[in-house]
Subunit: 672 residues, 2 copies
């Protein structure tokens, strides 16, 4: 079909017109069969690209999504997604030589996850861009743009915004849970980033969530799909169900009587593609007049429009030339390392960091030499990777002593098991400085079914460090050596004791295959830390409302009434920056950023807006930029503030911008 | 007590004389408490040193015992054990600064395991030195000597021969199993290496097994302990029970009525130390007149003689100076790499190996990038390690493509799981040569409780490759590229299809932390393979008698009537060797070995004896030596044959020696 002058939509229409009802229904399942008489190969729609091509063998593994968000580097995230889609497309080009694709071999990525990480206990929170809708919207937009490419005709890879909507735990209840949410929270928090990404990036697809929202199952919700997504938001793409979510409508939510009714509810509200088995009943649903054939046809046209737009049927699609040489190529590995550097957040530093390479160091903790904490979840398999320990070993010039120190979670070591504490104390005694590598791993915070966190099904019962690690921290602290606390997790943990006992605290989100190298780059000052927290670090479980309460009251930096240990957007550097000539006029903040320290460093400038008269919200992130400056260098910057955020404030308000801690009043009251 | 002129035995006698009965009884448990009034610190006797200090944190991890046996390098094994005991002692010197030792912190090693690997299905077989009593005796002797050191006064570390006796599965039944064995098999196979090691190395300790032998529980067996070990063999050391084995006597074997009787049975037959809890009942047993206090005293004297001989109470013990700088020192890592090189056995080579570094290689298989297959069981935690994949990546100059290819064991991949086969086929298509890294891992063949091999509790139901891997082999073979089959396992597997389909087959026993480097050294010809099989590689499960049958009939190279795929002691090289001037006179074989090839290489010369008139046994290994020669170099060798093996042959027999495949008749019929 090379050289076809018709649009993808026209080609889809013409092709689908030749299909029987049965053929059309079959194409609405994620594992769509071939239609040989029409030249349609079998295609499995399910692929994953959260932070690298996932579950499809060797691939560059970038930092987990929460770490990408912590970079506050929109361009870097777009570049990351572009690298990922190159690898996915290259793999697809190879896999299709088998004449069809299997699962995780196609070019329709069910990424990114732009749910709001409203509660640190949610196991899948690290798949998201954090707690703020604007940051999520910016990162999601960059990621979608990077995945989908900028060819005027073809999409490189389809991006899918998920999980639509209001999805954030509990994992154990997700198939039957009804998230109850008010209109303000719905639009200002839970749906905000979906709309933003749709407006700014034109994603190919949206995935419906498992849960109900205010009584309606997300994958069959007239309100969410028909009224808001296709209506208010003007979404142009296709909707896919989460896997098994449509059978959940009758089996778990008990909103319908059987699978035919569930399928009809979903399809009639615009869910064109089914991951799972419910659409086996589509023909029955049509026969029962629950769905019209026209509705089926419209769905299948949407799906084939996407496949045509992906160039699946064309010889001259430019992405056909991508060879697997791009997979884990040096450029991608270097980008992964750079993003990992930017993703780590220096939370405290009394001057201990950076370290001198000559120091003898004790690397202690259950996460020091664990490959899994590099990878997060929804990950690929790196052919090479550098654990935190190995990164330090490769960079250090003094002696490196390693001691695991404790079991990751088990406090009581079995009588006949290894007792690793004493080795850790000895290692600390003999070293100049201790680097504690602690925290969680992706088995402790994950997805229902993936994770083995006891009754919590992937969620966490607490934000406290496991007691085994608390004990290790206390015992090693008694040795009296300077300590760096490296916390590896995908979420906020209670780091109060680490903050008290350690000279430096560094947050490492699951950092990808190059994580150990990036950590060493920061510890030894090769690179300045520049990451910022995309989530609030609370002091205790007592700071958290009930997990199942979806009200945003007292959640995230916007609404939390307490004092966090480390606030949203917090992040230190080894150099220092000053803002000069700060101005807030109309819809933008401008100024000059100067590197007043002695090292080159990256620096994000998040701009928050607040209305001192409005007690309902502390402030709102409304713009951000990021610069990298040499010592002494100064550069002007301009942050365009987000129109949709500005719109949330009363036009007459005495609007104030918080720019890196400095307050600046808006000069002209005009909103636009 | 520095400068004490008394012998260790005298000091033990004098110290124990000051103890109460209760104090003495408590000292017979492995977790012996302190006796502050006598200056005796608490001491935990349990430590492990199978192929490196185990379960005690960072340590050099050498090849698993079965791999050490495959080196056929007696001096190398002694050097390995010396390195291990240096590390153990150095760690002890640190741990004792806490005023006591915990488990895995002492200097009494419950190693080596010199059981006979009579059946490849036994899960713990890889802890042993293989199927041959003589090879086991030589390796065990070297290992004990290396552990115990050669100080005239002090032992560096106590070695413990285990498991005495006739212990080799099934793991699931080990606490209640009664191994029924005839006298010839008992003495010529199961006990032979124990006696040999006792005669030649003077081990400090022997550990009793879990099982019964001909009805008697091993840890309480008059026949095994009193009559044979202390009587016939003249053993001078102490006996320790396997962990929980004494409670098994009443609870599982039902030979006694209660723990007091079990403890009495064990102590009265010479088992001085109890791993487990049975000796809590010792005071009761004495009160019931089941044991005399004199017997208790004699046991405790043996134990304290050992502790004095280890220098635990002396300031001037030369081993006190060993600092933890020896742990994972460069010399030990180099030795581990060298032993790993020697432990790998080239089973087939049609000229494919060694590889040119410029070739593009596909490294395929579930064992390619698995740390656990480096480590085996009873292992330490290496601070650095090189997986097979990484070793190849570091050595190759062409492109290395990695594909896992399949799950280690699961044939049916879940519908929503990764489907890794196609990636492997693609990698093969694009490469010049395929290196398949297949086999088992230490979770699939291990100990009861350790392993998760379903119903088999660590044993294997079959010697076939898992069907997932069989399928991968067949599919990759269809690509038609030259293939090297790297089989990682601790035991014989059925490699018939690998032998048919692949140009080269290399057996890699769990090779230790440097395993990947050693593999690359061999694959790329940096070093010639020189390992030899310490076990017969059978063709099929049909070659094996029932697992629970302890008769040696039709087992091992000595008695097997069939045709193995690769026989015991088989092992190829990249160079070639010729034997010249071969003579067999009296008790020795002499000759000249010439390296007739073009590469330096090591070469073991095992000497088997056979009596053509004796149909009951095929042949018996009776001597061995090992040389390393440059190309063209020749060196004389002399192999002293083992007196105890010669004694097994009829004096008048027409004795023939098989030397590396060449037969030579004994010139003088005199046996001695």
């Amino acid at each position: 079909m090379t050289g076809d002058k018709r649009t993808a939509r026209e080609r889809a229409h013409d092709l689908v017109a030749q299909m029987t009802l049965a053929e059309k229904c079959a194409q609405m399942k994620y594992d769509a069969p071939a239609i040989p008489r029409l030249g349609v190969p079998a295609y499995n729609w399910w692929n994953e690209a959260l932070h690298g091509v996932a579950r499809s063998g060797a691939a560059t593994v970038f930092p987990q999504a929460i770490g990408l968000a912590a970079t506050f580097d929109v361009d870097g995230v777009k570049g990351t997604a572009a690298a990922i889609s190159d690898e996915m497309r290259a793999k697809y080009n190879q896999y299709r030589t088998f004449g069809e694709t299997q699962i995780y071999q196609g070019i329709t990525a069910w990424s990114p996850n732009i749910n709001i990480f409203r509660d640190p206990r949610w196991g899948r929170g690290h798949e998201t861009y954090g707690e703020d809708p604007y940051l999520t919207g910016r990162m999601g937009t960059a990621f979608v743009q990077g995945l989908q490419g900028d060819d005027p005709v073809y999409r490189k890879v389809d991006a899918t915004l998920k999980h639509y909507a209001v999805h954030s735990g509990p994992e154990r209840l997700r198939h039957s849970f009804d998230a109850k949410v008010g209109e303000e929270d719905l639009f200002e928090t839970y749906l905000w980033a979906f709309r933003y990404c749709i407006d700014h990036a034109g994603p190919s697809a949206v995935m419906g969530a498992y849960n109900r929202v205010n009584g309606e199952p997300a994958c069959g919700s007239k309100t969410l799909l028909q009224d808001i997504l296709y209506g208010v938001f003007g979404f142009q793409g296709y909707v896919v169900s989460d896997c098994g979510a449509i059978c959940d409508i009758n089996r778990e939510h008990h909103v319908t009587e059987n699978e035919a009714e569930s399928a009809a509810l979903a399809v009639n509200n615009g869910c064109a593609l089914n991951c799972g088995d419910a659409y086996k009943w589509l023909k029955t649903a049509v026969a029962l007049d629950l769905i019209s054939e026209e509705t089926i046809t419209a769905c299948v046209e949407r799906l084939f429009e996407a496949r045509f737009r992906l160039g699946m049927f064309d010889e001259d699609c430019p992405y056909n030339d991508l060879s697997d040489d791009v997979v884990e190529c040096p450029e991608h590995l270097a980008l992964s390392r750079k993003m990992a550097q930017e993703s780590m957040v220096l939370l405290k530093n009394d001057g201990l960091l950076p370290l001198d390479r000559q120091l003898n160091v004790a690397v202690i903790g259950p996460n020091a030499d664990d490959k899994s904490v590099l990878l997060g979840n929804y990950n690929g398999t790196p052919s090479q990777y550098t654990t935190l320990l190995r990164g330090i070993q490769e960079a250090a010039q003094g002696k490196v002593r390693y001691a695991r120190g404790c079991h990751l979670t088990q406090d009581q070591v079995g009588r006949w098991e290894e007792h690793p504490l004493r080795e850790a104390v000895l290692a600390a005694q003999k070293s100049d400085v201790v680097i504690l590598c602690m925290g969680l791993n992706p088995q402790m915070e994950g997805e229902e079914g993936d994770a083995y966190n006891g009754d919590m099904s992937g969620d966490k019962a607490t934000i406290d460090l496991p007691s085994s690690q608390q004990k290790l921290l206390e015992e090693v602290a008694k040795v009296g050596k300077p300590m760096v606390f490296v916390n590896v997790s995908g979420s906020c943990l209670n780091l109060c004791r680490a903050d008290e006992l350690c000279g430096a605290v560094l947050q490492v989100f699951y950092p990808g295959a190059e994580g150990g190298k990036a950590l060493a780059d920061l510890l030894y000052g090769e690179v300045c830390p520049s990451g910022r927290l995309p989530v609030t670090f609370y002091r205790s479980d007592r700071d958290l409302p009930p997990f199942t309460d979806y009200s945003m009251k007292d959640r995230t930096y916007k609404y939390f009434q307490g004092e966090p240990l480390y606030p949203f957007a917090h992040g230190l550097s080894y150099t220092s920056f000053a803002l000069e000539d700060l101005r807030f006029e109309g819809g933008a903040v401008e100024g000059v950023l100067r590197n007043t320290g002695s090292r080159r460093g990256g620096h994000a400038i998040p701009v928050f807006l607040k209305d001192p008269g409005d007690r309902s919200v502390n402030c709102r992130l409304a713009g951000l930029t990021r610069l990298e400056l040499d010592p002494g260098e100064a550069a002007p910057f301009r942050v365009e503030l987000c129109r949709e955020i500005l719109d949330l404030f009363d036009d007459s308000a005495a609007l104030t911008a918080l720019v890196d801690g400095e307050e600046v009043q808006r000069r002209s009251a005009g909103k636009k």
